[in-house]
């Protein structure tokens, strides 16, 4: 019976990038500040504000991808678009509420 089954264990790992500023805004990521003192207009999603992506975060993500190069599962897409359905996340600490994940290679 035991021989029929193969154990496959996956680990989903989240790692916080050590950038100076946030992913989509120039607010500080410094540890230890009082709540909401490092939340700028973009972070609290005031009407009309727009995100601008952090170059260094993208660079670090690519560097990591290259570092774990051994795996077939890593696809670094040079051209990436929002290519999958949106996920609604309604929690007060997630102001924009919609998270999109690029789970497929763009067509």
């Amino acid at each position: 019976m035991r021989d029929k089954w193969e154990i496959v264990i996956g680990l989903e790992t989240h790692a916080q990038l050590n950038t100076r500023s946030k992913m989509f805004s120039g607010a500080s990521t410094a540890f230890g500040a009082a709540p909401n003192t490092q939340a700028c207009a973009v972070d609290i999603a005031l009407p009309g504000v727009l995100p601008v992506a952090n170059r260094e975060a993208v660079a670090k993500a690519v560097r990591f991808g290259l570092a774990v190069n051994g795996s077939n599962a890593v696809n670094i897409n040079r051209r990436s678009a929002r290519s999958s359905p949106a996920k609604t996340i309604s929690i007060p600490t997630f102001p924009r509420a919609i998270r999109s994940a690029s789970t497929r290679r763009p067509s």
Binding site: G26, A27, A34, P35, N36, Q38, C40, A53, T88
Partner: protein, 95 residues
């Protein structure tokens, strides 16, 4: 593709908008009219055509990793419905 009342309720839930039975029925027929309009577009043969998400095929501009914002929470919180000690107040969430 006609929507059902269940679809309307499900979508309203995803969109975090409260909707009662009567409203759901009223909006159902309006939404189905819109989807009839949209059906024309679905029938078009688009094999081999890349989706166009941006008017001009430009590359996403990225931002240097620098801290450019300062603490303005007092100003931003002056427009909040309920704040206390620099925190936004909302109903308790127990997971």
């Amino acid at each position: 593709m006609a929507l059902t009342l269940e679809d309307v309720k499900r979508v309203a839930d995803l969109a975090r908008i409260a909707i009662d039975e009567a409203e759901a029925r009223a909006v159902l027929s309006q939404l189905n009219d819109v989807f009839k309009l949209i059906a024309e577009m679905q029938a078009v043969d688009t094999r081999g055509v890349a989706p166009m998400s941006h008017a001009l095929d430009v590359v996403q501009r990225l931002r240097e990793d620098a801290v450019t914002e300062s603490d303005r929470h007092a100003l931003f919180q002056s427009v909040a419905p309920q704040v206390e000690s620099g925190l936004y107040l909302v109903p308790k969430v127990i997971e």
